[in-house]
């Protein structure tokens, strides 16, 4: 497999990014340091290249019917220029991907999907589209995406546009506005638990927008931010990462995403299994835990209770905003209570931990 570069690849080198491979893409894991960038996003702002994300346009008279079948959340509740987060499931209830649905018009939607899943999602959508009068277009290669995240995001973007941004609420978007003279789709969304925007633009404009945002933001403390802190930021607010807390083997109910599964909206993929899991309770659940003894849990380390295997770590790391070693893991439902003592097997040794409530971090006023 060839490793792909985003339109901002050269820019990352110019800003001192340390490039790693992630999901088939060359992207910066950090520029100045993960803790430093993490802190900037929590207290000021950070700028991320998320151009690797995939985008699919759904057009046609059956667009809504198709999406209602495809995803678990209720797309009919969306208003124009509003956004919905939703899992997308297989018929057996496992998760194909989690995505954002942007309603541009009654017969026109934009789906934003995970980079590593673009091909798989595209095939799955094609397969499901057969009985609907819809047109799907994969515009991933023609779309760049920059995420500006942190409490100063609005202040920074406001310096580059005349449009009043305070009117743009969380999970709403402006389909076409000018930022620094470039046409973009501006979305009040993100993956960090902070206020912020995701800016969709032409690949040709990405470098100019990046440089201009950095220029006006740097004096306020804006830092370029890499994938490393993107992961620690989303982890602290317990947003799932596909391939970790969600997978073909983990349903949205098991992942604790029941509020994004609307069982009464009509027929959809995975409905039967998800209904059963919601009614009887899933046999496994994603929980949060804190290390009690010294050690860092990492993905795929076994979780034990009194010497028996009860689950596995899905994400584990040091949480910079809490200064603690925390984890998420999927474990048997009888052990999910807050305060439950568990052990994490780290390099052959059992290290004690305990279940704590999620999310680990909440932004003030939220």
């Amino acid at each position: 497999m060839t490793v792909k570069q985003t339109p901002l690849y050269e820019t990352h080198l110019r800003y001192g990014g340390r490039i790693v491979e992630f999901g088939g893409w060359s992207l910066p894991v950090q520029y100045t340091g993960i803790k430093n960038e993490h802190q900037a996003v929590r207290t000021k702002a950070g700028l991320f290249d998320v151009s690797h994300m995939g985008e699919v346009v759904v057009n046609g008279p059956d667009a809504l019917g198709f999406l209602q079948r495809l995803v678990t959340n209720d797309v009919s509740k969306l208003e124009r220029n509003q956004i919905l987060y939703t899992p997308m499931c297989y018929k057996h209830g496992g998760t194909v991907d989690d995505l954002l649905v942007y309603k541009k018009d009654a017969d026109h939607y934009l789906l934003v999907i995970n980079a590593a899943n673009i091909e798989k999602d595209w095939n799955w959508m094609q397969e499901n589209a057969e009985e609907f009068d819809v047109n799907l277009t994969n515009i991933s290669n023609e779309t760049a995406q920059i995420a500006l995240q942190g409490p100063l995001s609005e202040t920074i973007v406001s310096k580059l546009t005349d449009v009043p941004l305070s009117e743009l609420k969380y999970y709403w978007f402006m389909p076409e506005i000018e930022i620094a003279g470039k046409k973009v789709l501006l979305s009040r969304t993100g993956y960090t638990g902070e206020d912020g925007f995701e800016i969709y633009c032409s690949p040709n404009d990405a470098t100019y927008l990046w440089d201009t945002i950095m220029e006006v933001g740097s004096p306020l403390g804006l830092l370029p931010a890499g994938l490393g802190c993107r992961d620690t930021l989303r982890f602290e607010v317990c947003f799932p990462l596909y391939g970790h807390e969600l997978s073909a083997d983990i349903s949205p109910i098991e992942a604790g995403l029941g509020m994004f599964v609307k069982l009464d909206k009509g027929e959809f993929n995975g409905q039967e299994t998800l209904q059963e899991q919601k009614t009887n309770g899933p046999k496994r659940r994603i929980v949060g835990f804190e290390m009690v003894d010294r050690g860092v849990a990492r993905a795929e380390y076994p979780i034990l209770v009194e010497g028996s295997y009860v689950g596995v770590v899905t994400t584990g790391t040091y949480a910079p905003s809490l200064d603690k070693n925390l984890g998420l893991g999927i474990i048997q439902a009888e052990y999910v209570k807050v305060g439950q003592k568990i052990d994490i097997e780290i390099r052959g040794k059992n290290v004690s931990a305990q279940v704590i409530s999620k999310p680990f971090y909440k932004r003030e006023g939220k």
Partner: protein, 129 residues
């Protein structure tokens, strides 16, 4: 990149400072910069013995887990307990307060297999492999 002349280096990015029959060991500036923010160090027991090439410690950064290999064989006579509460000493002072262990050398001929600063600088310049 800071690569002090007076130290010896392993290909695994440890530095070795020989004081009599004791080797003080840490990781290089290059290694700490590659690791990123160190958040946890698993230290060996004092008085345990290690053979050259044994993994005797683990350093974890936010993203990465890295084994530290013994550059010489011998008995671990001192362990830098300050790393328990201050793992970031490895980032701040890789050649100073961020040292990891001191090993009483059992076979001084192993020191001949280590790199000098010029050879290590070349290894680091090539990306560390």
């Amino acid at each position: 990149m800071n690569i002090p002349k007076e130290l010896k280096y392993s290909k695994d990015h440890e530095w070795v400072k020989v004081e009599g029959n004791v080797a003080i060991i840490g990781v290089t500036d290059f290694a700490q910069s590659q690791l990123g923010d160190v958040v946890f160090v698993e230290l060996p027991d004092e008085l345990s013995t290690v053979k050259v090439g044994d993994g005797f410690s683990v350093i974890e950064s936010v993203k990465a887990v890295s084994d530290i290999y013994a550059p010489v064989s011998g008995k671990i006579v001192r362990v830098n307990q300050a790393l328990t509460d201050g793992p970031d000493l490895i980032n701040q002072e890789p050649y100073g307060e961020g040292w990891i262990v001191a090993i009483e050398i059992s076979d001084s001929s192993e020191l001949n297999d280590l790199l000098d600063s010029d050879a290590y600088a070349q290894l680091a310049a090539e990306g560390g492999h």
